[in-house]
């Protein structure tokens, strides 16, 4: 039996500490939810990129927008889909405050993806990726 994976509930500060680091790793962070169809459709593309880039300085994090009350549901979902990336659940209070703190150009719609490198935002993208689009965007960041 595979070890069970569990989501970590984080504050905005915890999230920032985990994803925004002053090093040469590219952090690819995807905002999703179990009930968001386009999100769930694109997560396999992120998994594929992660498998392809194994050994390189790229780290994938999926941040769930599910309610903290839905931890059990998120856990069963991520185990069922056997996601390899770290999965966090953001519990940060009023979205009108924290959405802008993540990226001011974000409307709040999901899916959304942010990439960090060297402690700074390298790219923000609102909407779903195709497999090729995600691949080319990541390739450009790790060139």
């Amino acid at each position: 039996m595979l070890p069970q994976k569990a989501v970590t509930v984080v504050s905005l500060r915890d999230y920032q500490t985990r994803a925004i680091k002053n090093n040469d790793t590219l952090y690819v962070v995807n905002f999703w939810a179990t009930w968001c169809k386009p999100c769930v459709q694109e997560l396999p593309f992120f998994e594929a990129e992660q498998a392809k880039l194994k050994g390189q300085k790229v780290k994938f994090i999926y941040v769930s927008m599910n309610s903290p009350k839905e931890v059990a549901q998120v856990n069963s979902f991520i185990n069922q889909n056997q996601y390899k990336a770290d999965v966090l659940l953001l519990n940060a209070g009023n979205p009108n405050i924290w959405i802008d703190q993540i990226d001011s150009s974000w409307s709040g719609a999901i899916p959304a993806t942010i990439m960090y490198k060297g402690g700074k935002t390298a790219l923000f993208y609102e909407g779903e990726f195709t497999r090729n689009k995600l691949d080319s965007v990541i390739q450009k960041q790790i060139l």
Binding site: P38, M65, K69, N96, I99, G108, A109, P111, Y125, S136
Partner: protein, 202 residues
Amino acid sequence: MKTKLVAIVAGFLMLASFKPEGGLKVGDKAADFKLKNIDGKEVSLSGNFKGAKGAVVVFTCNHCPFAKEYEDRIIALDKKYKGLGYPVVAINPNDPAKSPEDSYDNMQKRSKEKGFTFPYLFDETQATAHTYGATNTPHIYILQKTGNDFIVKYIGAIDDNHEDAKAVKEKYAEEALDALLAGKPVATTKTKAIGCTIKWKA
């Protein structure tokens, strides 16, 4: 070969980072629309809101869990503010080809199930959502009538807590409406909330 690839990638990235500029801003005159309601009749700002002081335009849909969580609160807004001159008008901007649950038939069903007290319009061409600059569902625009014009006074979220109406601390939409009714400036004119993307036509 390499230059060509770089050019393709560059072109691609330009497209990828393209964001539709515009959409309505607070203070702008809201464009009128003429859209089909679930009863088959067309509804427009100029035709159906003559006696009103304004309108609460809500971009919403059937399928989105966030939108569903707000349905009861949208009904409550309409009940509270319709009589005060600010009725709700809901608009579904989603492409049913991409999101079958958001079809016109399903809009009729959803409205009946929930007992919507307001028109629920189908933005089939998505032109209204584009003009307004709606990005997600639910996304609300509070308009105040000045002469024959509808002026945008507030854009964004209904409140600060989608999952629990009882735990709401900031009732953004109500605060804006109460300010307008009191003849005061709206304190918070623009907010954000997590929501579903609008399912645009390909």
